[in-house]
Subunit: 121 residues, 2 copies
C-alpha cells in the first residue's frame, strides 16, 4: 500500500483528450476513472451495471429516452444498468466515473468512440 | 429513475453530527455516503472490503500501523481490505465514502461509535 493520496485535479491536469477515461484507483472490482468530455457522446447502455457520474469541474447533461438530467460541479448521478443514456457537455467538463473494472465506455454499442478500457494515470 | 442530480454540499448541509454516515446513492451493491468528522476515530478494519475516502471539504488523516496518509479537499484514498486504520481530523472535515452496502463504520471492532448502517439523506 502506497501511503499517498490521489489528487483528482493533479491527475486531470496530466491529459487533455476527450472521452478517454483514465483509471486512478481500484476498490474491490471497481474502478474510479477521470474523464474530460466536450460535445456529444453516443447513445449507449451498460447491460450489467449501474454507472456513477460525479462532476469535478464544469457542467454536463445526460439525456435519457424519457428526459434529461443536468449535473454541475459537486453533483452526482447514478445511471441504472440497462438504461440508454447519452452524455454531453457544451463546454469542456471534467468528471469522475465509478463502475466495475472492464466497463467499456460505449457499452454494448461499440464504434469509433470506444476507448481503451484499462488505462491508468 | 428520478431525473435529479444529487448535490453533495446540499446533502451535507442537512446534518451536523460527526462520525454518522448518511447514504446518498446506491450503485449496484455499493453505497455512496457523506460524513462529517472531527477528532479521532477508533482503530478498526473491514475484513471483506476496500473502502474509498474522498475529501469534499477540509483535511483529514488516516493512520495505519506503519504510517499515515493526509488527505485534503479533492483527494481520494483507498484503504485496502483487512488493513487497520484510524481516521481523524483536527478541524471538522466533510468526506464521501464508497463501500459495499451494509459496511459498518467501526468494522470488526464495534463499540460506542458504531453508527446505524442504513440511514439515507
Amino acid at each position: 500500500m502506497e501511503l499517498k493520496s490521489i489528487n483528482l485535479q493533479e491527475k486531470l491536469d496530466k491529459f487533455s483528450e476527450h472521452w478517454s477515461p483514465k483509471i486512478i484507483a481500484q476498490m474491490n472490482g471497481y474502478h474510479f476513472k477521470l474523464l474530460k468530455i466536450h460535445g456529444k457522446f453516443i447513445w449507449h447502455n451498460h447491460d450489467d451495471t449501474d454507472e456513477v457520474f460525479i462532476v469535478i469541474k464544469g457542467e454536463m447533461s445526460i439525456k435519457f429516452r424519457d428526459g434529461m438530467v443536468k449535473l454541475k460541479k459537486g453533483e452526482l448521478f447514478v445511471v441504472p444498468k440497462g438504461v440508454e443514456h447519452k452524455p454531453s457537455a457544451e463546454k469542456e467538463c471534467e468528471i469522475m466515473l465509478v463502475e466495475p473494472a472492464g466497463t467499456i465506455n460505449t457499452g454494448d454499442i461499440g464504434g469509433d468512440l470506444t476507448a481503451e478500457d484499462n488505462v491508468w494515470i
